[in-house]
Structures are given as C-alpha cells and as structure tokens.
C-alpha cells in the first residue's frame, strides 16, 4: 500500500486566514512522531518531507507533527514579589512588656494605600528619588500578604532596599528582614518570579 503523499492542506500550520486543519496523515497509530518545531510562517509547499522518493519503505514520520510552534522566552518584562507583613504582636505572644494595643493587629488586613506607603520609605532610603519612582503594581492584598509586580530591571533594587529596613508606621515599629527562600512563595504567580526570589518579610 503506497503511502499517501502529503497534501499541502495538511501542512499549513499557520496563517491565520487559512483553515487550521490538523496536520496529520491518516496513520492508524500516530505515535512516535518527530515533533519538529516548525515556524508558523512556513509556506505549505516547502513543508513536504525531504524524502524525494515517496514510495520508500522508510515512512517519514516528520509529517506527523503535533507541535506547531515552540520557543523559549528569556528575560521576562515583569518580576513578581510576595511580601508578608508581620507585626510584633504576632511574634511576641508570650512577652508582655512589648505588648501594647497594636495599631495594626496581626489580623488586620492591608489595603492598597497602606502597602504603597509602607514600601516608599525603604526605596527612598536606599536609592533616593529614583528608588521612590520605581513603579509598583499591587496585584492583590489578603490579610497580611501582598502581591506586587515590578519591572524586571527594578527587582534587584526592590529586594535590596527591603532588606534590613527598619522604620515605623503609625504607632508601630517596622522591621524588614529578607528571607532568601529557595522555596518560592506559595500562592504567587510562581512561575514568573525570577529564580532565587526573596520572600520579604515586613514586620510592622
């Protein structure tokens, strides 16, 4: 049984105007395909298999592609952080000397403006005006957790400035301790954090 020569309609993975039909030959068992990464703009005519003799006993499985496009992205534009606010009240549960009616008790929830005002002093102290001008997008706040997004080039500066930051907010004191966790924060957009991301702990 002569193998069916590939028709051009089967080999057109791309142009959005043409119909995207499945580029597979009617083989009964489409296994062991060689997934070649065909670029999407490949013209139909050029994608016939390089085998000049269609009646050869070795059937070229290259026609049976299932990967339409494959690529690697490096240097993404954004870096994501997961920060956590820890108040002294939450830490010193046994010590009575430090306890005062906490202005921000451990169960308080952060809102966007508080986060913004908590993040500006460390950036300004570390990098001055350029530090305070780093654009931070606050993606979500939940209890004492906050998720933010910064441009990748600013991520180093942000992390460094939050390290060892000590300050105050309203009546409480704020410390910043950076924990370099190899564990990425659990609920963030984890894939998009750069490797070795710090989980910054802002104590307040």
């Amino acid at each position: 049984m002569a193998p069916k020569p590939p028709s051009s309609t089967l080999q057109a993975p791309a142009a959005t105007s043409s119909s995207l039909s499945a580029p597979t030959l009617p083989h009964p068992a489409p296994s062991s395909a060689n997934p070649t990464s065909k670029h999407s703009e490949q013209p139909p005519a050029a994608s016939s298999p390089p085998n000049p003799n269609p009646k050869s006993k070795k059937r070229k499985r290259k026609d049976n592609v299932h990967i339409l496009h494959q690529t690697t992205f490096r240097k993404p534009s954004w870096t994501y952080f997961h920060l956590n606010l820890v108040t002294p009240a939450a830490i010193d549960t046994t010590s009575t000397s430090m306890s005062k009616p906490a202005a921000s008790p451990a169960t308080a929830s952060l809102d966007l403006l508080t986060v913004s005002s908590l993040l500006t002093p460390p950036l300004t102290a570390f990098l001055g005006l350029t530090g305070s001008s780093i654009a931070i997008d606050i993606l979500k706040t939940q209890g004492c957790d906050v998720w933010i997004r910064v441009a990748r080039q600013d991520a180093r500066a942000l992390r460094a400035s939050l390290t060892g930051w000590m300050g105050s907010c309203e009546a409480g004191r704020i410390f910043t301790r950076t924990e370099e966790l190899s564990l990425q924060p659990r609920t963030l957009i984890p894939h998009m954090l750069s490797s070795g991301q710090a989980k910054d702990v802002v104590k307040g």
């Binding site: 993975p13 791309a14 142009a15 959005t16 119909s19 995207l20 039909s21 499945a22 580029p23 597979t24 489409p30 296994s31 395909a33 997934p35 999407s40 299932h66 990967i67 339409l68 496009h69 494959q70 690529t71 690697t72 992205f73 490096r74 240097k75 993404p76 534009s77 954004w78 966007l112 403006l113 913004s116 990098l127 654009a135 997008d137 606050i138 993606l139 979500k140 998720w147 997004r149 990748r152 080039q153 180093r156 500066a157 460094a160 966790l181 190899s182 564990l183 990425q184 924060p185 659990r186 609920t187 963030l188 957009i189 984890p190 894939h191 998009m192 954090l193 750069s194 490797s195 070795g196």
Partner: protein
Amino acid sequence: MLAMHRNDGSDTKFYFSHSLLPRYIDPHNIPTKKKPFSTFGAQHFTHRLDLILPEEVFELVRNRLEDETGVGRAQYARVYMKLGELLQGDFFTEYIKKGNITMLSEGRPLVDNVFSLYEGVLRIEVDRPTYERCGLEGKPIEDGGRKHQKNRWVMEFDLRQPSMLHGKKGFSRLEWACKNVLDQSLTWLFFNFSPTSRESLPEGNEPISTYHPFIHSIAPVTTSLPNVLAPELTVADLTALYDQEDSLSLLEYLNLLSLDSPRVNSTDKVDAFLSRYAVPDFDNGVAEKNMVRVRWRGFISPQFVRELFLTVRTEGMKVKKEEQDGDGGTKNKQEKRWFALSGLGFGGQSAYTVMQWAGRETLVWVCE
C-alpha cells in the same frame, strides 16, 4: 553602572509551545510523550494544582470533580522514616520491587539534603561533605553558586534493577551509607499508585502502616471568580500569540486568575498610581465572564493531573458533531472555550501552565 541596574545574571526562562493533541486518546493507554502529557510527567511531585474554567464548563464537569471516589480525589500519607528503612523488608519488596510508589523527603532543594523516590529510582541530593562521606557514585549539579565549586551532588539508584538486592555489592554500599551517613529520621510524603491503596492505607493493611503514617486526602476547593474580564480569544487567534509580550501577558493573566486578584475584576477601579495592570487585549477586546477556580493542594502525582486533564476535556469541552473535523478536533475557528491547568512543584522550582482549547489546540508554558 550600579550593581543594582546590571541586566545580566540568570533569569527565569519560559518554554512556550503551541501543539495539537493526538487525534485519539485511548483511555487505557494515556499518552506520556507528547505535550502536554510530557509536561505533566516532567514534574514528579506537584504541590498545588489550579484549574481555571469558565462557569459553563465547570457546571458540566462539576459532578465528576466533586465525586468522592472520582478523579478529583486522592490521598497521600506523611510518615517519619529513615532512608534506610525504605530499603528494608516488606517495604522494599512490596512497594519498590513489586509495586509503584512515589516518596519525597523534607528538605529544601539546593539547600538541605533531599531524597526522592519516583518510578523506582531513588534520588539522593546532598552537599559535598556528606557526599564524600557516603562513598557512592554521583554527579554534581548546579546550585546557582560559584562555578566549578561542585557543592551539590546527586546520586541516583534504580532500585528496580535485579542488581539491587540484599547481598549484592552495590546495594550493600547503599545500605552502609544509609546506616552510617544518611541515618536521620525525616518526614516523608508517600503516595501509592495502586488502586487498592485507597482502602487499604487507612485500614492499616499496608507495609507502611508499621510506621504510623498520617493519612491526608486531597479534595478540590472551588472558588468562583464572578465578573472577571477575559480577553476575547478564539482558536484562530492563537497563532498570533507567539510574541514574547503577548504570550507572557496571557500567562500572567491566567496566573492572576489563579491568584484571585481583584485587578481582573470588571468592577475594579484602582488608581493608576497603585496599579497599572490591565487585562490584555490582543486586539479583540475583553468581555465579562464568570470563571471558576478549583484548587488541589497536597502531594499530587502526574497521573492525577493527566486523568484530571482528560476528564475535563472529554466532559467539559465536547465538540458538536457538525463541527468535528474528523481528526478529533474542531472546524469552528470561532471556538472560544478553554480551560487552564497549572501546577506548581515542591520547592517552587518548577511550574507549568497548560491552556487547552476545545478541540486540539494546546498552549503550554513551562517556567524554570
């Protein structure tokens, strides 16, 4: 140039692919070599699995997911054991030689000693002094630190080999190392692939029961995400998304849905000073939709993920007869239904997101 602003250094990489599912998937012979199944299999231990679907699709699969004995449930155990105990007695013969289990020990990858067992291969990751004391053969791995320092070493042993039996030289060297060097009692997570394990583990009829495991069950947690803005995308638009900016902004959008961020809500009116995130447009506009997020947390195996993926696809994304194109896919280029499955591995080191459209088109992002 300040060190702060240097643009070099290792970055996260994203491996993106747009592929087609096989034309016919045999439920008894689930494929493992093609995407996205190869992606599921590459992540041996999944900590968290998120499934994002439109509400309509969720309603179709809801029963299957919430069914007590169904595809949305699993169980794993947590035990305190020493590494040497894995190689002894009943545990060794029943589980490793005859059965199929997977185990993961406590320990941060690249920082502590981590042991894992998957498909019969025991993988031991240790730092250099421990490696030298073990006296076993291993390979150095990159730990992100100084080059040419070789601080982290990995030793792998295929315990299913006939040479791995008590009394054989290689095996006794391994046992010696476990007895003298790696003899700490650690917390392990354990999962047994055998279908009878669902009943026998809680009853205490298994070899692991002598170690008094804590049994945990994995159940889905459903959160509804009402009134979110979603980009209007159809199957025909997918080929236009190969650009880095577009592809990663779609990934970012899917992950913000997973995060349940208010920035994707249609009612969100946040000042531009606080957040300048906008739902990506892709030239087709955005529309309001109701989405649902289902989340599983625990010790999840790739098999669970595969079965879940296939269940949602077959039950929730049926292609109407008149739209079928004879190859298992859909002829309708305006097809809008999709669902996204994303998995985060233990240690946060590996993560993937798979976006499956009704039909055969699949987008996969793997992050490293």
